[in-house]
Symmetry: C2
Subunit: 250 residues, 2 copies
DNA sequence: ACCGCTCAGATTGTGCACAATTCTGGAGGC
DNA sequence: GCCTCCAGAATTGTGCACAATCTGAGCGGT
C-alpha cells in the first residue's frame, strides 16, 4: 500500500502534506504570519473570515482552515462563536517562549559547533548570502525586511544543523516570539540587531569552542530584555494603576 | 474588547480554544492518539473519513477537522485526494524526535533540579500517585495502561516544571515517539520500563545534583536503543534484501 | 441617569449535495 | 501471459444554504 515494487508502474507518488495544501493555504498562512510579525496585524486584531476571504480571493471555508492551522500554532486565538483574533500572549507566555528558544537554539548551536571543520562551502555561502541580505535591509532601513530576515536567520541555522524536527519546532517558536515582541516591545526599542547576527556568523566560521553558543544565548537574552514584561495581568488592574496618582480634580 | 471593566456586567468570558473544540474534537483527537500509541492503529493504516465518522458518531466534517489537527502534529499524514494515514516515520525522523526529546527533557529536568528544597507537598503527591498507577499497571500487565501512563509521566514532569509552552512541545514529541516505537520496535522488546521512572522519581526527591537529569538522558537513550533504526529507507530495497538468499526454486 | 431587556444585523458553525479524483476489477489487444 | 485501457464504485474536496450565536443599539422602567 505505501510501497511500490520496482517492477510496478512508475506512477507519480503524490507527496505528503503536513496539513496545509501547498499552493493556496500555505501561501495565506505565510502571508498572515508575516503580517503579524511585522505588526500590520497587531495582537488582538479581529480576523473576520469574510474579510480575509475577500482579501485573498478565496472561499470562506479555505480561510476557516487556515485559521485553524494558525490557531494550532498559537499565533491566532479562536474563541467559539466569536471568531479569530491575533493572539495576545501573556507576559508569562512570552517568557516561556523565550526560554524554550534558548533551550532549542542552544542545542542547535552546539550541534553546529560540533560540525567537522572546515565547514562545507555551500553552508558558508548560505550564511554569507544571508548576512548580505541583512546588511542590505539595514542599509535601506527596510523594517519589514529586517524583521523577516531576522526570523529567517535563526531558521537557517536550525536547518543547516540538520534536524528538521527541531527546525519545525523553532519555526513555531519564532512566530510566537514575533508576536511577543509585537505585544511587549518598548516604544524606544530597536529590532533584533543585525550586528548580533554578524558576530554569530563570524564565531561559527572561526571555530572557538562555545563562543557561538554563548553569543546566541546572549542574543536571545538581549531581545527578551528589550521587552516590557511587567505584571499587567489584566486591564482591570491597569485602570487602578493608571488613576492611582490622579490628584482628585473634584 | 478583551478587557471587561469592573463595573460592567460580569458576563461569562468564553475561554479561548487553541483549535480543537473542547468536548467533541478534543475527545476524538485523544482517542485516535491513544489508539496509535498502543498500536491498535499501526503506522500506514488508512483512516477513512466515513469510517471514523461512524465510529465516533459524528459528522464527516468533524472528522475532517480532527484529521487536519493530527496532521499538523505529524501523527497522521494527509495525501491530497487520497486521504489520511497513520504516519510512518522514517528512521531519520525517529532519531530526530528522540534527539529533540533529549534536548527538551534535559532542560525540564534541570529546571526541576533547580527547584527549592524540600519540594512542595502537592508535587510529591502527584509524583507518588503516578508511581503507584504505573506499579499497578505493571502488576496487572496492562500493556495499554502502561504505554499511556509512560507518556503521562514525562508530561507530568514537564507540567510541574512550570513551562506550559515546553510542555506543549513535549506533548507532540511524545506522541511522535510513540509512533516511532510502533514503527521500529524490535519483536523482543519491552516497553519504557516503569523501573526507570521509579528511579527518576527517587532521584528527584533525594536531591543529588545532576542525577535525575542524567537518569532521564539514559532513559531516553535506552528507549531509542531498543528500536531497530537500520537503513531500510524504502520497501524497494527491502524486497531485494528479502529475496537475496532465496535458493532459486526453479 | 442608570440598568436591564429586546430585537435587528452581523458573524460563526454545520450539514448536505455535488464535483473532482482515485481505486478496483475486468475486458481486450499485443 | 502481461500490459493497457476503461467504466463503475468508493473516497475526498468544495461551495452553498441555513441554523446558532453573538454584538450593539434602541427603548422603557426605576
Amino acid at each position: 500500500m505505501t510501497t511500490a515494487s520496482p517492477t510496478k508502474t512508475p506512477r507519480r507518488e503524490p507527496r505528503a502534506r503536513t496539513g496545509a495544501r501547498s499552493s493556496a493555504e500555505a501561501r495565506i498562512v505565510r502571508s498572515i504570519g508575516e503580517a503579524i510579525a511585522d505588526r500590520r496585524l497587531p495582537p488582538g486584531t479581529k480576523l473576520t473570515e469574510e474579510s480575509l476571504a475577500e482579501a485573498f480571493g478565496v472561499s470562506r471555508e479555505r480561510v476557516r482552515k487556515v485559521l485553524l492551522l494558525l490557531a494550532q500554532r498559537r499565533v491566532v486565538t479562536l474563541i467559539p462563536n466569536r471568531g479569530a483574533f491575533v493572539a495576545k500572549p501573556t507576559p508569562r507566555e512570552a517568557r516561556e517562549v523565550f526560554e524554550a528558544r534558548r533551550i532549542v537554539e542552544r542545542a542547535i548551536m552546539e550541534r553546529l559547533e560540533r560540525l567537522p571543520r572546515p565547514l562545507p562551502a555551500d553552508l558558508l555561502d548560505r550564511l554569507r548570502d544571508h548576512g548580505a541580505l541583512e546588511d542590505a535591509a539595514e542599509r535601506d532601513a527596510d523594517r519589514k525586511a529586517m524583521i523577516r530576515l531576522s526570523g529567517q536567520f535563526h531558521l537557517l541555522l536550525a536547518e543547516v544543523a540538520g534536524n528538521a524536527t527541531l527546525a519545525g519546532i523553532l519555526t513555531d517558536l519564532i512566530d510566537r516570539s514575533s508576536l511577543a515582541i509585537a505585544a511587549f516591545e518598548r516604544r524606544s526599542s530597536h529590532t533584533c540587531s543585525a550586528d548580533d547576527h554578524r558576530r554569530l556568523i563570524a564565531a561559527l566560521i572561526g571555530n572557538r569552542p562555545g563562543e557561538a553558543t554563548a553569543l546566541m544565548i546572549d542574543h536571545l537574552d538581549e531581545v527578551e530584555r528589550q521587552l516590557d514584561l511587567e505584571a499587567k495581568t489584566d486591564a482591570r488592574i491597569d485602570l487602578k494603576a493608571i488613576f492611582a496618582d490622579e490628584p482628585e480634580p473634584a
